[in-house]
């Protein structure tokens, strides 16, 4: 009898997994769209069961890989959208889908309510354990297997915030502030298990706040920052927050208290870090309205001049010191502008995602990402050519490597399989790429049609290397939400080429279907170190393009949309400062990889200081030698131009062996073939790219993979020299002072310490010789 019972148990379905559906039409992600200059809505973070794809087998993807979908509890983003998302609450198992697409126009005011209704108890004890003194998430093997220590470990994945990735705005308060931590609402302790803080709790207070925010953040002066202090928030909100936080502290479960931290920060005039249940975001998307760059100070009326706030002149040399008089103070509401916007927001395809340190990898893998389309002249010009509202009808592809807890929490990680088995995974670069939550969906086109694909790689781990589909043509319109200028758009070297999107990268592509009908796969290779991975990474289908129906012959737009003047090249003579930033990975005491910036892990201290409204050139170095990892460098608030790249692992085709490659860089004294360069391993000044790289028409990015280093060895295998890879970038650190971060966009690396704080500081000289 007992044996029969056991057999019956085994016969039960295995947790209701099923082959993931493929070949479904590409789903359209519901939107929150701005109206009349306001992006208003609610984004709710919740826990829900959705079908998450897992690769079969778990080893590196091959053309034969398949995917099983399992019902998994994940943290999801949903919103007040049109149309509404299908319900996925409770035990209703839904399909994976990104967070709502946000659509606004440069100049609009963002007014979003973030609700945190995650039920932390459906996950392993995941509420932030920093308060329980030991800090990190705990599994049977983690964190001991990694040697991770709080705060640089996986932890607190029910606590969230939002990073508006690609935004050029105020990094403080209710802007693009990634330091705040919004904890989940308390829940009723009954079988209803309902969140106590819901959409109605602070609606009235937030309505008042948003109204006041609108009156403060006038579109004519996007440099105004408000709110700046705790008392700027509605009393009904701050009082309730204090009550909720004190109740949390009084629960007796936590050794570290939250309200005292907030109270101290409030007393110091800083922005409070901890909130519970709900948070209001209010910030303006800055619109650059001048027709020239640098911006020109318009004539000021006498009455306006009388109202100006005169502050200390700055002594550093910014983009144009004459135009930045007064830099260093946030513009105050009600005053005439005293300084000019240097950079506007680039209209384009941006995105947003959870960015709480310690949980970005888990949250993003769960699907807490969404696109943020910021429209502007770019869209107007495309629509003038292709037809009214054309850009709004075009496919959006939010790609993500969906998953649950990281391998490291299962005893795996890197190239080792989970479960502590030591099973080699080979080239494991994370899960397969879902597109809008679906595996291998279908995009429909008509013969000859041109579509604009907005592609966002929101994955936490791997880059997506997309090959041009056979028979198709494509042209790149933008990179990382920053449009190409006409020289780049029309340059053949950017046309019909493979497209590499590292985690966080975006691209807008004009895609032209062939005149024939049929189905064609869009093939992808997942890579962490493109140079080293691509030769062996298998091509797998990311989606299928079905060309059918009547012919719809279209053309590529002949000229790129009008290029905003503030995106003019950063010339060498603009640069006023330089830095060297070093990323590195090495094996820790447990054998797991540890990740550093300038030999430090994230501590909450400032790692880099830049003066506001100055221009700097940074050499961003990768001292990772094995396994090779091209850490994707990301910095918030300001995009940058890449002006030089040195990849010591780069290869060239072997002229004598078709299909084979040779290293581009060889050591001095070695005979070379055309295209090879010699570097002197004893002279690091020779460790630079072959030939001169032009900085003209340099592309703007906000994520760029730093080429990994290479170790040169003698015939006995001894390391002679470790040659790091690097790139050089220039950026204008303009308009917004404050604290924000730079980090690796392999988000497990960020969570485990590969992040530092950038302080963009106003210059307030205590002395004047004028």
């Amino acid at each position: 009898m007992r044996k029969l019972f056991f057999v019956l148990l085994l016969a039960l379905p295995l947790a209701a997994q099923q082959p993931c559906p493929t070949g479904q039409p590409l789903p359209k992600v519901p939107e929150i769209a701005a109206q009349n200059g306001f992006l208003r809505g609610t984004i709710t973070v919740a826990s829900a069961q959705v079908m998450i794809p897992f690769r079969v087998p778990t080893t590196a993807p091959t053309a034969a890989s398949t995917y099983n979908c399992y019902p998994q509890w994940v943290r999801i983003l949903r919103g007040s959208t049109t149309p509404a998302y299908p319900a996925t609450t409770g035990n209703n198992i839904g399909t994976a889908m990104p967070g709502p697409t946000l659509r606004a126009r440069v100049g609009d005011l963002v007014q979003l309510t973030l609700l945190n209704q995650i039920d932390p108890n459906v996950f392993p004890y995941s509420i932030d354990q920093g308060e329980k003194s030991f800090g990190c998430d705990q599994t049977t093997v983690y964190p001991a297997n990694a040697g991770d220590q709080f705060p640089n470990c996986f932890h607190g994945s029910s606590t969230v915030n939002i990073h508006f990735h690609g935004s050029h705005t105020n990094p403080n308060a209710t802007g693009d502030n990634v330091f705040l931590e919004l904890r989940p609402s308390p829940r009723t302790q009954d079988q209803a298990n309902a969140p106590v803080v819901n959409g109605e709790t602070f609606k009235s207070a937030f309505d008042d706040f948003f109204k006041q925010c609108e009156s403060m953040l006038k579109p004519a002066d996007p440099l105004i920052e408000w709110p700046t202090k705790w008392s700027d928030l509605p009393a009904a909100y701050t009082q309730k927050q204090e009550e909720l936080l004190k109740a949390y502290d009084a629960s007796g479960k936590y050794q570290k208290k939250l309200w005292p931290v907030d109270a101290r920060q409030i007393a110091q005039g800083a922005w409070a870090q901890y909130y519970i249940g709900a948070y209001p975001y209010c910030w303006r998307i800055p619109q650059y309205t001048q027709t020239v760059w640098p911006p020109v100070q318009p004539p000021v009326s006498e009455s306006a001049a009388a109202n100006m706030t005169k502050v200390q002149p700055r002594h550093a040399h910014g983009p144009d010191p004459a135009n930045t008089e007064g830099a260093g103070t946030a513009e105050m509401p009600g005053k005439e502008p005293t300084r000019l916007l240097q950079m506007g927001q680039s209209p384009g395809t941006h995105w947003y995602h959870a960015h709480k340190h310690g949980s970005t990898a888990i949250n993003v893998s769960n699907g807490m990402t969404g696109a943020f389309i910021m429209e502007g002249q770019y869209d107007d010009d495309l629509n003038a050519f292709y037809g009214a509202n054309w850009t709004r009808t075009q496919p959006l592809m939010v790609i993500n490597q969906l998953g649950v807890a990281p391998n490291l929490e299962r005893g795996g990680g890197g190239t080792t399989g989970p479960g502590g088995t030591g099973q080699p995974l080979g080239q494991d670069k994370g899960p397969g790429f879902a597109v809008n939550g679906q595996m291998q969906p279908v995009v429909s086109m008509q013969p000859g049609e041109v579509q604009m694909w907005r592609i966002v790689n929101t994955s936490s781990r791997a880059g997506a290397y997309l090959s041009l589909p056979t028979g198709f043509q494509w042209r790149q319109l933008s990179q990382d939400g920053v449009q190409f200028n006409n020289a780049n758009y029309t340059n053949p070297i950017f046309q019909n080429q493979p497209l590499l999107l590292m985690p966080g990268n975006r691209a807008d592509m004009l895609v032209m279907a062939p005149s024939r009908t049929g189905s064609t796969p869009l093939l992808v290779q997942n890579v962490v170190d493109p140079t080293n991975d691509l030769p062996t990474a298998a091509q797998v289908t990311m989606l299928t393009i079905k060309v059918a129906g009547t012919a719809k012959p279209m053309q590529f737009i002949p000229q790129a949309p009008q290029f905003p003047p503030f995106l003019a090249d950063i010339k060498a003579n603009e640069v006023t400062g330089s830095k060297v930033i070093r990323f590195s990975t090495s094996k820790g005491s447990t054998g797991a990889s540890d990740h550093f910036i300038d030999n430090k892990q994230f501590s909450g201290e400032v790692g880099q200081v830049v003066l506001l409204n100055t221009v700097e050139e940074w050499k961003v170095v990768n001292e990772t030698y094995g396994p090779p990892i091209a850490h994707p460098f990301h910095i918030h608030i300001n995009p940058f131009q890449v002006v030089e790249v040195f990849d010591p692992n780069e290869t060239i085709p072997d002229p004598n062996n078709p299909g084979k490659t040779l290293p581009m860089y060889v050591t001095t004294g070695t005979s070379t073939v055309a295209g090879q360069c010699a570097i002197d391993l004893t002279d690091s000044t020779t460790w630079k790219p072959c030939g001169k790289q032009s900085a003209d028409n340099a592309i703007w990015w906000d994520v760029f993979a730093i080429p990994s280093g290479k170790q040169f060895k003698d015939t006995s295998g001894n390391v002679i020299a470790s040659v790091p890879g690097y790139f050089k970038m220039r950026s204008r650190f303009v308009d917004y002072a404050g604290y924000y971060v730079l980090h690796c966009h392999i988000l497990a690396h960020e969570d485990r310490g590969m992040m530092t704080i950038v302080e963009v500081a106003p210059l307030r000289s205590p002395y004047s010789h004028h």
């Binding site: 056991f6 148990l9 085994l10 039960l12 379905p13 295995l14 947790a15 209701a16 997994q17 069961q49 998450i52 897992f54 079969v56 087998p57 778990t58 099983n68 399992y70 019902p71 998994q72 509890w73 035990n91 198992i93 932390p120 108890n121 459906v122 996950f123 392993p124 004890y125 995941s126 354990q129 998430d137 705990q138 599994t139 049977t140 093997v141 983690y142 001991a144 829940r187 302790q189 079988q191 298990n193 479960k253 998953g403 649950v404 807890a405 391998n407 929490e409 299962r410 005893g411 795996g412 399989g417 989970p418 479960g419 502590g420 088995t421």
Partner: protein
């Protein structure tokens, strides 16, 4: 396949409590695979602690409990009311690869029991 996370809910059941597998009924096993993580969501007003047991649900003595490595049998610390468990339990199968059944009871309420099946 491997790499999933599963949440077993501890639910009131008459005067006691029961272990309800994810998307299953109390009394059914939680089906898992090698290297899945399992946690328990305590939705009762009492403390519980899943504790490894023999096939006839007799709790194992403390000296037979192993912790901190893949393949160990320690399931969870005591779980407070309305909280979830820690550490998350890492399911593994023996190196020989056969399907394994983990029997457990509540350390504080030995009449409450459940099973986890770890498929190879």
């Amino acid at each position: 396949m491997a790499g999933q996370d599963w949440s077993i809910t501890i639910v009131p059941s008459g005067s006691t409590a029961a272990f309800q597998p994810q998307n299953g009924q109390a009394g059914q096993p939680q089906n898992t695979e090698n290297s899945d993580l399992v946690s328990w969501n305590n939705r009762t007003g009492e403390q519980h602690q899943p504790w490894p047991a023999t096939a006839d649900y007799q709790p194992l003595p403390d000296d037979q409990i192993t912790k901190g490595t893949a393949g160990c049998n320690y399931l969870s610390d005591p779980i407070e009311p309305w909280e979830s468990s820690q550490p998350a339990y890492l399911c593994t199968v023996p190196t020989s690869g056969e399907t394994t059944t983990i029997y457990y009871v509540c350390k504080f309420h030995p009449n409450e029991h459940g099973t986890i099946v770890v498929n190879a």
